[in-house]
Symmetry: D2
Subunit: 313 residues, 4 copies
């Protein structure tokens, strides 16, 4: 591990990044497609790092909970991998970058209801459909896994966000019904949407998210208790999928600029993994046109450069 | 570097892989779109590794030259990065996975003549157009760079392949003319195609290719002479681009199965990079439906598993 | 009016057509996407003509009721034109051929929720949304108009078909939700679908359909009672729309072969208009790959040739 | 034939239309994709009618030659129908509206090189390829047919326009090469383009065009000499194709507003057919966003309304 992991040096780096973040506070816009998200105070910033020893570093509003939104797609996929036969998953959802916006429906028709990957909306709905059909009390399972991974028993759904999502479900309903029309989604659309929206509505802070996904930097082993969350092979595969598909149609640019596996959400959070070393989480609500946090992306670039980490060398 | 780099262990691994390769000799088909490629003896296999100290390991037909085809897209991009202002490149070609076959024209119209990335045909033609307009004697420059990187002064164009490509230029001509219609390709289409096809028609062996791209595993520095081919940042960016876009619409699957930056060609060659450690090249002419070598992909999987390398860990 | 309208000659022509129809009974398949339609006895055929004096000619199973399915799209558009400000209609649905299958969703996303025309599913759902929001008791209005136009007070919804459609609503629900996501569909999706499916589930015979739409051959005036259904301009426009868009992505072929405004349904019915002269209705349940009745299309070709009618000259 | 064909009444109508045309002179833009067209004086207007007795009526700049551009697609299709086996034509080009802009390439890839219809660029290039391969001296045949149909032995190619088209051939070359890649276009691309561009570069006046296509209003018989240009069935089919496909992605709107078979060109000309009665030609260089003459379309609407002709009644 590079010298920069000297705790005080990393603290200094995070502090500097948090101090500089307001430079980007004017850029981009808060997600506006549901009222509950549109009301978020836009000019906030938090950052947290969790290393493979479980040590947490933080700066800015790192303990402020935000709506994790699409970061829940990663959580749901992990549940699916833990509970289901993988062949069942991968015959119903692909593993390729989509080259399309996260909520595009065009590709889904061309490819007859098989979503490209689990990190676009259609794919995440499909994974949720798998969970709904196979796992009892799936809401509870999702929340408990998030709590356990983050080591935070107080994590909760923001039910106001979940309700707001359901009230504005039209596009996701269109995706789900189209997959149902092709026979690929089996459950009741409204039930699938309810579970999916609850996942999106999990409230977590940067510290929560960094801790929750630190196992992805540690070959699948939770840093705190040594429990195996996924196998080393699954862990490598998840990171590969995050790298190629985690940021929708900005995945290539993120790989180019940051060079790490990552997943963003329209709540303004981004989680990234430095394999073998640490997980990173940034949060700032204003988004660029791809739905990724503007200040968050800049902070990640600075952090990666400052740490000198480069798994793609 | 893991113990597996013990030279004799690596030699054993490669020998075993080459011995097992014939199991896949019945699968897939040799590229048939030009006669010169269709005549290749299908059931051949070679493999080579070049580590960051410049040591080469090999097995099978590792010294048999083959047509590098799309691996030349990487060579051309390196020339562009070396000779041109990068901003000039990236305003005319993107850096995102295409989610489409390598020679698709649909996306090019939707996105008004800006190809998604330099590793699909349209993007490679665009990079070639940049080279043609800015670099004198570009054929010579391409061949000399390949010779120098591979340390093989005998490398040559297979002019029969280049002529055959030109005689069957229709789809690439369509891509080039469409970009010209949008004002993004500036040169004469036939001149751009001629240079592009010559790059594709470079004949290189697995050993040549592994040596030529070993610098990508070495932070941009050539292992043999210490010369800087690209900067560390450019090196990391190239690897990121290879990982997200190097295998066309099978990039996600390759990342999932192999987890390395890589580039394939319809001649049956695949080059892959283990950052910080080594470059790998496999070759076997039969292709899957995505245009990637069947036996080559399997060999890479086995090699990566055997080496225990996992940059995405 | 040509001499061929001599009643006995027309009767002879229809009789001959009905006699020859069984030649095509092996071709094509009954619509299978809902069980209630899949159960229809496939090898049936009916034909009816209604001239502008209101005289009806018939042969085969011309009085057997069938599910009018997409022919209801024409009925719904007529109600919209009668009750709404036309500008309200045409700012929310286009008037161009779609060049796509009747239930395609691709175009709807590309064109941001504005369906191409009222005769593809998305457009018909949009027209239904307009009806639902502006007209009280719209089910009743639809049925009453059908009864009045056909002069048959016994016309009824086949509620078993309507229920079966609702139970297999997925694709139409996807279309409706996507339009809702774009803000173009305003009502509740399930309510819109219920009305739409009831229209599709109207049971009418060839004689009913021919009588119902005879006004389109009579400059908008009902032959029986002289009432104005639509204005002459609206009548001409409806016929133009039927000619360019009435048979989905087989509209061009229908115009080429038959040369008349027409509308088909997956129940196997097709209605066609000879402006100034008569309306025609054929019915036979087996469909070609475009969803149009095989025997019905052949019968129409023979009928048009036998009558010597050629508005496109 | 309606009373409005009283010669002086028709003359009055045309005179009034020509007098009112300047109201639209500010709207739209002259085609600018080739310099030779961009130089045309924009604010000109001509109109001509040729009835089935061969009588010509005219107003405005009805004798000013203009570049017929895409109207040549109709001429080429007529030559193909006259000289080739029709089955040879229709297995290589479709007869359906495209729902896309005239020069779109997307559909051509999706449908593997088979253009939708002969009136979009790809389809016209394909028809030209058929002509080139089967007919000696095709330039001469095209010009002679135009001269004969128009009764004007002075008709000529504007070679400056043809050269300018060839110098800006990129998009049409892309379409042709893509069809060649799919094996559907057989000839040399540049030769096909040369013939196609010469057709586009025919200079004809409104009077020439109206006379040339009057046979389409006369069941395929030339009004002047009684010669059969096409059979009655072919004539009806051509009119059907013009109605569904003649104005690209504005075909539906043209049918709705004008209700006649028609063909437009980016030179600003539009020809329309009233089956059984007359042909119409208008010309004014400023185009709307679909590539159709703004003042021309308005004039046609007024003319059709004034004449009271309504084949779709």
């Amino acid at each position: 591990m590079p010298a920069s992991f000297d705790p005080s040096a990393l603290d200094d780096l995070l502090t500097r990044i948090a101090r500089d973040a307001p430079r980007h506070f004017g850029e981009g816009n808060v997600a506006s497609y549901i009222p509950a998200l549109a009301e978020v105070v836009p000019d906030q910033f938090g950052i947290a790092v969790c290393d493979v020893a479980g040590r947490v570093y933080r700066a800015g509003a790192a303990d402020t909970p935000f709506s994790i939104q699409s970061i829940s797609k990663l959580l749901n996929l992990i549940i699916a991998i833990q509970h289901l036969d993988e062949a069942d998953i991968w015959q119903r959802v692909g593993r390729e970058p989509s080259g399309q916006a996260f909520n595009s429906i065009v590709q889904l028709e061309v490819e007859r209801g098989i979503p490209r990957n689990p990190f676009i909306n259609a794919g995440a709905l499909l994974v949720t459909d798998l969970l709904v059909s196979r796992i009892m009390s799936i809401h509870w399972v999702m929340r408990e896994l998030a709590r356990r991974l983050a080591g935070n028993p107080a994590l909760a759904f923001d039910t106001r966000v979940a309700s707001s999502e359901m009230a504005h479900k039209a596009r996701n309903a269109a995706l789900a019904y189209l997959m149902k029309a092709y026979g690929n989604l089996h459950g009741e659309v409204d039930e699938v949407l309810d579970v999916y929206f609850h996942g999106c509505a999990l409230s977590m802070s940067c510290v929560d998210v960094a801790r929750a996904f630190a196992f992805l930097a540690n070959r699948g082993v939770h840093p705190d208790d040594g429990s195996v969350i996924v196998t080393p092979q699954q862990n490598r595969q998840l990171n590969a999928l995050l790298l190629t598909c985690g940021l929708y149609d900005a995945a290539g640019d993120f790989a180019w600029r940051v060079g790490l596996p990552g997943k963003s959400g329209v709540g303004g959070g981004i989680v990234a993994i430095v394999p073998g070393q640490m997980s990173l989480c940034v949060w700032s609500p204003r988004l660029d046109s791809y739905g990724n946090s503007v200040a968050g992306l800049r902070a990640l670039e600075t952090l990666v450069e400052g740490l000198g980490v480069a798994p793609l060398g």
